[in-house]
């Protein structure tokens, strides 16, 4: 893997504003206004999902997502003297995520694979058309999306999948290197071949 200056890599990420892309990574930031009952509904949903991990299994299986996070915002924190802490008249759902590949593919996965989950997250948001069909759902996300003013990825060439594989490969390589020093050339040949066979989907 070659590493270029942060923020300069030409990646394969597609489908969103240039401000949201750095190398392989894409940011998405969505604000939506929540109906009054959302301030009870969303905390209940978040707690349930935290307590019962199998409910988010499919979300975690989508390996191109680095992380996705939903937050209920009820007030804006103080920002110096000019912008004091403000209580919002309506609560807002703040959604942020970082992922690889393409914006369309990402929302498609939300629509088709996580249909029910998406409907639950945005159920209390004004104007939410439903997670399917995808067309109106994409329009909705586009309308409520903010382009990042600055987006930075420390390893713009890396993707979540690559990092995960590299982390799994490192101990296997270390282990093999340690064994290898004790092997005769003939033994090494067989062991190397066995190592490649075992590790092939990480290479």
């Amino acid at each position: 893997m070659t590493v270029s200056e942060p923020g300069t890599a030409v990646g394969t990420a597609t489908g969103t504003g240039a401000g949201n892309i750095d190398g392989q990574a894409i940011a998405i930031t969505v604000f939506s206004t929540v109906k009054w009952w959302g301030k009870h509904w969303l905390p209940l949903l978040f707690t349930t999902l935290r307590l019962i991990p199998p409910l988010t299994r499919d979300l975690r299986k989508l390996s191109f997502i680095h992380f996705a996070r939903w937050t209920l915002i009820r007030e804006l924190p103080a920002n110096g003297d000019t912008a004091p802490r403000t209580r919002l008249r309506y609560p807002h759902l703040f959604f942020e995520s970082n992922f690889n590949d393409g914006w369309e593919e990402y929302i498609d996965a939300f629509s088709y694979v996580l249909t029910r989950g998406m409907s639950l997250f945005w159920a209390s948001s004004y104007g939410f058309p439903g997670a399917l069909p995808t067309g109106p759902f994409k329009d909705y996300i586009h309308r409520n999306e903010l382009e990042a003013a600055h987006y930075y990825s420390a390893y713009p060439e890396a993707t979540a999948t690559m990092v995960r594989k590299a982390l799994a490969l490192a101990p296997a390589v270390a282990d093999f290197a340690e064994r290898a020093v004790r092997l005769s050339p003939a033994e090494f040949e067989g062991a190397w071949s066995a190592f490649l066979t075992d590790a092939q989907d990480l290479l």
């Binding site: 893997m1 030409v10 394969t12 597609t14 489908g15 392989q24 499919d58 299986k61 989508l62 390996s63 191109f64 690889n100 590949d101 393409g102 369309e104 593919e105 498609d108 996965a109 088709y112 694979v113 249909t115 399917l132 069909p133 995808t134 067309g135 109106p136 060439e157 993707t159 999948t161 690559m162 594989k165 190397w192 071949s193 066995a194 490649l196 066979t197 092939q200 989907d201 290479l203």
Partner: protein
Amino acid sequence: MTIATPRIRRTPPVPDLADIQGGILRAYGNDYSRTTYLFVNVDETRAGLRWLGRLVDDVTSARPWTAGKPATTLNVALTYDGLRALGLSAELLATFSDEFRAGMAARAAQLGDVGTSAPEYWDTPARAHVILIVNALSEDDLTGRLADLRADLGRYEGLSLMHEEHASLLPGVREHFGFADGFAQPAVEGVTDEKAPGGGVRDKDGWRGLALGEFVLGYPDESGRDSDGQDLPSAPAGPLGRNSTYGVWRKLEQDVALFRETLRTSAAAFPGGDEEKLAAKIVGRWRNGTPIVLSPDGPAADFRGNDPGANDFLYHDVDADGRRCPLGAHIRRSNPRDSIGFGELLSFRHRMLRRGVPYGPPLPPEATGPDGQQRGLIFVCYVASISRQFESVQVQWLEDGNVFGLGHDKDFLIRGPADGSGKMTVPGEPPFFLGPQPTFVTTRGGQYLFVPGITGLGAVAAGTAG
């Protein structure tokens, strides 16, 4: 995992075959062994409109032929520059998709058309206006029709014939590397339902064809299928938004001598030394088209790509790790079916109707090196969205491997990174690493096209499209 079955069950919309241009929903067929693309520029709007106005009546529609096959067919595609040159209003022009408006040359960096594939080295005009597509049964038929079209063009001042690209089928409907090509196509609901197993998508009731709107504008696509026809995919305004489609035209030069040489030298290190097997691993099919996922040890002698069921296979349950068909094989990348998880849900919105034809003479089998002739594939596909159906396949599935867990590996059949660092992993015990990756394919030209319905084309010619 299957797609949700629609809440409302409707009969699929009936395509208006008399208005949709021919050669899109169904190929004209292998009897049309010759295809020529004429690039025409419109330097003067009035002349262009008059010329098109006369041509409209000759355009071949998708209506089935009742009186036998015509000797030639004629179709008309336009670029964004062409629509501008023909005087469409700025408001109407703004309703075409962003990538179409930018044009293929402007997307070169994303599409991987860099280095020797960059637009400055193309040998077809980077800016074109109108492309006429002529198919013919025989060389004589072609010669006659082209002479008529050239004479017709000559009658107008302000039109110029910029380029002619001649393509023709190779024996056995092979592409130049020697593989049967062009038969694995998406099934379209209400048109080619017989191809649904393996070519469509599964819902609770089994396989069905993909919504017509995935390939022809003005009809519900897979997103709108469920919304009672209310939610049509984005399309140009007015008559151009109906029975039309977007097209992708690419001239891809193939280095056949290098391909054969690479197979020969790499097979020496490949277990069993089997060159044919290595070739099949790169493509995902044996030369006669047999999918290696179904037949890993050799081709089925009686395989015929157009048989119903020939394309009826998936990857996940039988070959998740790619020991039969590598995850990086050309057909597994370009249509991963269920191999990227969740059934076909992450791949079925990225299908294209491919209508490519090879150009140039075949390299004789006994040739021992390059013969100085140019040859390759005129890659053509039709889609409702160039960005979703062509660009994301090209950029994320062929030019990169992350989706498949293959890091930055590119499709081995097409081209490697300029620094020679590319490779392909052929899974096995032990795996085989094919590399360094040469460049077998170089882009020599390309256009994003718009293919109007016949009514829409008439409206352009009459100046009433808007």
